[in-house]
Chain length 327, copies 2
Amino acid sequence: MTHEIAVIPGDGIGQEVTPAAVEVLEAIETVDFEFVEGDAGDAVEAETGTALPDATADLAADADATLFGAAGETAADVILPLRQVVGSFANVRPAVAYPALDAVQPHTDLVFIRENTEGVYKGIESEITDGVTTCTRVITEDASEKIAEFGFDYARQNGFDDVTIAHKANVMRQTDGLFLETAEEVGAERDAEYDTALMDALAMHLVMNPEDYGVVICPNLAGDMLSDLAAGLVGGLGLLPSANVGEENALFEPVHGSAPDIAGEGVANPSAMILSAAMLLDHLGYDEEGDRVRDAVETVLEAGPRTPDLGGDGTTEEVTAAILDAL
Amino acid sequence: MTHEIAVIPGDGIGQEVTPAAVEVLEAIETVDFEFVEGDAGDAVEAETGTALPDATADLAADADATLFGAAGETAADVILPLRQVVGSFANVRPAVAYPALDAVQPHTDLVFIRENTEGVYKGIESEITDGVTTCTRVITEDASEKIAEFGFDYARQNGFDDVTIAHKANVMRQTDGLFLETAEEVGAERDAEYDTALMDALAMHLVMNPEDYGVVICPNLAGDMLSDLAAGLVGGLGLLPSANVGEENALFEPVHGSAPDIAGEGVANPSAMILSAAMLLDHLGYDEEGDRVRDAVETVLEAGPRTPDLGGDGTTEEVTAAILDAL
Ligand SMILES: CC(C)[C@H](C(=O)O)[C@@H](O)C(=O)O
Ligand SMILES: CC(C)[C@H](C(=O)O)[C@@H](O)C(=O)O
């Protein structure tokens, strides 16, 4: 069985790290892939007037899964519609501290399960009158239930004891109240243990004691911020993969952006993108292969070479070659 | 001249740390205070059905400044109206790492200038239909301009070189777009240097390199989360004071809550509350006296005693006595 993978490198370092991930997937002999490439991002917008051409969106819709690199100024115009195109309701963001690295908090082993369809991301904004604008944040029972079910299942399947439901229901009583109540019901139905946490207090506790937490189920924007916070705890975005999971389709992308400051220099860290490819393998049912890739990345993090973001002077190509060797 | 100060201890450890701050203010011989005490919080609600009695709100409205301790479950019902009563548009939250303490990031010296009137805090929520709720986030040019002016002035007056405007304008294009554009205009008018940062990326950078930042001007909820994150960097909420500043009135409160887990044991750290009293002194124009209080707190952080949150076994009373001695 051949899996069709849409590959959308995008802008900046997306162009450099995406081919690295494709090479790694090609090196997995036990799985057959066919890669189809599409354009998106700033460069395409400059040329065609649209950051996400229909042809690219169609590729993602029709593929078994998508690998997305990064986009620049147009990031929101690319990634938000792409998440919709693949029907993604859950954004899965692991943040793990590797022993080899000098992390701010070396005992971090977290997975953020971020609601991926609503909240302030609905894009409902208005200028009510001159100088007065509104954004309508939407929270539904359906989406809250779906993300909570996904989160509790993920925790069980991946051996996490700690589940935390993040919210700000003391201020957003109806919207986050609904999110919290619905997620708690799911926890109760599953007889699962869980905690709830105000997201501001949670930000503090995650910084001080990340080892007390495991899976964190979050509304959309809270998940955006908390997962980036956790990226800081483990040593930056160069290592963080993510999965946008839908019912039948999924898109995998590094948490980092297009990094215009280092784009074109060939020194971007390919790890986050390669770890995203590992999540793609898991998603297609190749858990062992996913683990192989993760082990290879970890071996290279320990033994080198390393890219400059991790204090080394290795290139993207050298790190990728080392990971391929370690596979 | 006698300054009338409304004192609202509230619930839990608010009852323990607020008297400590009053003692410290009373010990400042160069300033005359008259303290008037009011009730608010869970206990009052249980008794009277309302968490913030009108009489208490009136005290805060009429006083020259207010000291507020903490509230429990009813925190939002107490502090949000109190912020309105004193006409506060700016929430000032310094997060400083003290050399004596083992902070996650010992080079942290940040001040969050949080917009204090709008965003999701307007309380405009609806249940549109069964299982579908909305929260209307409001951003106005007026409030954005006011907080930005306050933030840039604060930075200049307090010797901060770095000003960062936090936002999520790539997703909330109209609301945070207006916030960002307005704040940038204020920066340009003042010929001030500043940076802008997406609040998710900022969360990561603050965790990794807080020394690169100084004053951070934020929309309401972003300020709530980012300042708690920073509390984690410097060793927890036991040390963080805050000021809710209005045109003619102001309210000072620790960033911590009522801490039901340790309430009644006499071991709450009074530092955050006493440092809030120091901000009250600054606000009334007694900067030297404010510095005296801060120096005394710092002396005791170095020499002890310390409360359990900082790894010691001192009591609230012992720490307060030591701070009074050091004054
Ligand atoms: C680019 C932006 C729209 C996006 C988001 O906010 O979801 C990014 O920050 C992310 O987290 O993937
Ligand atoms: C209690 C709550 C309403 C409040 C807020 O969100 O502003 C608190 O978290 C704070 O930061 O003072």
